[in-house]
């Protein structure tokens, strides 16, 4: 498939999904849609956006290390369609890996001289990062959001009637025991 057309199709699909999620989300939970889009662009970014920055950065480090290890095995080349069509599509799970695949994918991946048997697992490592990112994207839709600051409704704070005696302050705590000094 043409590389420019792939970009448009994948990006269009993610944006359409984001719009659908925003439309279906409840009022006040629409930022989940933005987190969903960010999570696709960079693993863990959605969690960071929703305030789970420790978890998001840990996930980014974990996925980044996995991707780099896989890329190192296959000579810093992305998975091409000829290598394995399934692994190739798996890269689309993350915008970062997809972008790197478009940049690095000019040349075909090749097995390292010292460990030619590692070639296929290396392609798997690169692909798994994209597939695991799909799980993280779905997880952003399931995270508990921090509660928004609640405004005090005006109706619950009743103004005292003019001329009315003020209420005595309620006693705080139990009455002092006999024989004790204050």
């Amino acid at each position: 498939m043409n590389s420019r057309l792939e970009w448009k199709v994948v990006l269009g699909a993610v944006i359409v999904l984001t719009v659908i999620i925003a439309a279906l989300a409840k009022e006040g939970e629409r930022r989940r849609a933005a987190a969903f889009l960010l999570a696709w662009m960079l693993p863990g970014a959605g969690h960071v956006f929703l305030g789970r920055w420790k978890k998001g950065l840990s996930l980014l480090a974990l996925m980044g290390a996995t991707y780099l290890f896989g890329a190192w095995i296959v000579g810093f080349r992305a998975v091409s369609f000829d290598d394995n069509p399934f692994y190739y599509v798996g890269q689309y799970g993350s915008g970062a890996t997809f972008l790197l695949a478009q940049i690095l994918g000019v040349e075909k991946a090749y097995p390292r001289q010292e460990n030619p048997g590692w070639f296929d697992p290396g392609l798997l490592y690169v692909c798994v990062v994209g597939l695991l990112n799909l799980v993280l994207m779905i997880n952003t839709l399931d995270l508990k959001l921090a509660p928004a600051p609640a405004a005090v409704p005006a109706a619950t704070v009743a103004a005292p009637a003019p001329g009315a005696a003020p209420n005595p302050a309620p006693p705080s705590g139990p009455p002092p025991a006999p024989g004790t000094t204050a």
Binding site: R52, K55, L62, T66, N115, V128, L132, V135, N139
Partner: protein, 61 residues
């Protein structure tokens, strides 16, 4: 043995997958690591057991 060295790549990738899946379930890092390693042990035991059964069947039956 060098030809089979790619089998060692099974360990990190499975640990990464299990850790990410556990991270989605829990917020406690200690719990995440404990459960990941426990699941890894079970998965590996099942894999080795299944491999042994298949080997024995092919060898003796």
């Amino acid at each position: 043995m060098k030809g089979l060295s790619y089998l060692f790549l099974y360990v990190p990738i499975v640990l990464v997958i299990l850790t990410v899946l556990e991270t989605c379930r829990s917020d406690d890092p200690v719990k995440i690591l404990k459960r990941s390693f426990a699941n890894f042990g079970v998965l590996t035991a099942v894999l080795i057991g299944g491999g042994a059964v298949v080997y024995l069947i092919n060898r003796f039956l």
